[in-house]
């Protein structure tokens, strides 16, 4: 059954269809969130929030559109929002400690929480660059699709992608 058919059934009150949708995208959602946030627990929280928000706004979803892209846009928005909050908090704590800004930590806060080698690399890119490069390399998204997820123009999406690729190449050369 297609995603949009599941959405339609969910709008008719069938909750199981939403459960199927969640199961269909939970790994991909986790991957996208992890690439943006570079923290396992934050990624889980973001996914949880995005699934809930998607459900609450399902009646606004245009059934002519692609559910995956719509959900990715929502999830990336939640993740970027979390990054902004984290930066504000870090800035605040940094000021309390008399520093301008604390250095970003990408290590997982608790032992037992999975960490990925790529997190170190990703932390050197901006959050929008991480989103763009993930969608391009892992999901095969075009510039237009990346733009739809990031909620920006196609040109800006290309800039994010080129910057990410250039920066990544430079990092890989350094190593």
């Amino acid at each position: 059954m297609t995603d949009n058919a599941l959405v339609r059934r969910c709008l008719e009150g069938n909750m199981e269809s939403y459960r199927t949708l969640m199961g269909r995208y939970r790994e991909q959602a986790m991957a996208l969130a992890l690439n943006i946030l570079a923290n396992y627990q934050d990624a889980q929280d973001a996914c949880q929030e995005a699934f809930l928000k998607a459900f609450q706004n399902l009646d606004r979803f245009d059934l002519e559109r692609n559910f995956k892209n719509w959900f990715y846009a929502l999830l990336s928005h939640v993740c970027l929002d979390q990054v902004r909050k984290r930066n504000r908090f870090r800035h605040f704590i940094g000021r309390l400690r008399g520093q301008d800004r604390l250095t970003e930590s990408v290590s997982a806060p608790n032992p037992g929480v999975p960490t990925y080698q790529a997190m170190g690399l990703l932390s050197r890119l901006g959050p929008k660059e991480r989103t763009a490069i993930y969608l391009w390399s892992q999901e095969g998204y075009s510039g237009a699709e990346i733009a739809a997820v990031l909620g920006c123009s196609q040109k800006t999406a290309h800039v994010h992608l080129f910057r990410a690729r250039a920066r990544l190449k430079a990092i890989l050369k350094e190593e």
Binding site: M22, Q48, Y116, Q138, A166
Partner: protein
């Protein structure tokens, strides 16, 4: 200028001019030298976390179902609106009290107890204690207060 520096500059300029942007983008996609300065798809794939790296992710359904069962938090009247209500009520109350103070007729009888029409407890004249005499007419509704300086050596 070598390609590396040129590419950095181009990428920085891209958002400002759409015509240039398209030309540079085409160049970046076709020029082998420029391509050498950009991570290719394999490198990018290896540097990002893919679905396969994660494995089976946590099932979000139980927590999701729980959050749906939980009663929705009551919608707050916006904080600003709440303050406006509080301020408005306080203002109206203050106006009512002020209005009452000025508009309700001042009645002497309410001030003085019915038995004693006027009582002078202590009077001073030119910063010296003085003696006060009160004359109240039998029928007329008037009272006279006479204050006299104490003579030297006289006590109250």
């Amino acid at each position: 200028m070598n390609h590396t520096r040129w590419i950095q500059m181009v990428i920085r300029l891209l958002p400002f001019n759409s015509g240039l942007s398209l030309r540079f983008r085409r160049h970046l996609e076709q020029c082998p030298e420029c391509q050498g300065e950009l991570a290719d798809i394999q490198e990018a794939r290896a540097s990002t976390i893919g679905q396969d790296d994660i494995g089976a992710s946590r099932d979000f359904w139980p927590a999701f179902a729980l959050s749906l069962e939980r009663p929705k938090p009551r919608r707050h009247v916006g904080a600003g609106l709440g303050w406006a209500w509080a301020l408005g009520t306080a203002g109206l109350l203050a106006l009512a009290i002020t209005g009452a103070f000025f508009l309700i007729p001042f009645s002497r009888q309410e001030v003085l107890s019915p038995g004693v029409k006027l009582r002078v407890n202590y009077v001073k004249m030119y910063e010296q204690p003085a003696q006060a005499f009160i004359f109240q007419t039998q029928e007329a509704n008037s009272t006279f207060v006479w204050v006299e300086k104490l003579k030297t050596g006289e006590a109250l």
